[in-house]
Symmetry: C2
Subunit: 104 residues, 2 copies
């Protein structure tokens, strides 16, 4: 019986696991960024619901590169095409081959 090493972010409510440590780390960093963005928005725009703040924060975190380019001086990149997240994992069922869904 061979052991498989899996990596999971303790921030991930969906408990996705990765066999690739680098990808797991990137995923964890994205969730951390989203958490902080959500906190910032909630502190400064009380009128939004928690869910709205969460979706917004994830939208920005998943388009981090594009927002970086915009904030650095090329704002037009944000209105070019609809959001294509920087990476394939955009919260829906991740299509990353090495994501192992543990039933439960």
């Amino acid at each position: 019986m061979a052991l498989v090493t899996l990596y999971m972010s303790d921030r991930d409510p969906q408990k996705r696991t990765f066999t690739d440590k680098k990808e797991a780390d990137a995923h964890d960093k994205k969730l951390e960024l989203a958490e902080n963005i959500q906190c910032f928005i909630e502190n400064n725009l009380e009128e939004l619901s928690e869910t709205q703040c969460e979706k917004l924060a994830m939208l920005i975190a998943e388009n981090k590169e594009r927002f970086l380019t915009a904030l650095k001086g090329k704002p037009e990149v944000l209105s070019e095409t609809d959001a294509e997240p920087d990476d394939i994992d955009n919260g829906k069922e991740s299509s990353a081959e090495n994501v192992t869904k543990i039933a439960g």
Copy 2:
């Protein structure tokens, strides 16, 4: 009768004028960034109202430096203190001395 040169961003619904060209330019860039962020959010999160998108976009544009730092890898800067906009002009009556309000 001496002439005063005033600068105004044609994006600014409040038509604020500046005597300092550099400041007017920074203001215009901030409005341009906010416009593009608003467009991005509206394209990707239909459930938010236009006003909510506008406020959100301005919140991010006014805290551009902090968001840049967060996106570059220090997300915790977003949950440190409430938003203190990068510059003094945060949409409310700008306290910049050289802003001339033309009655209209």
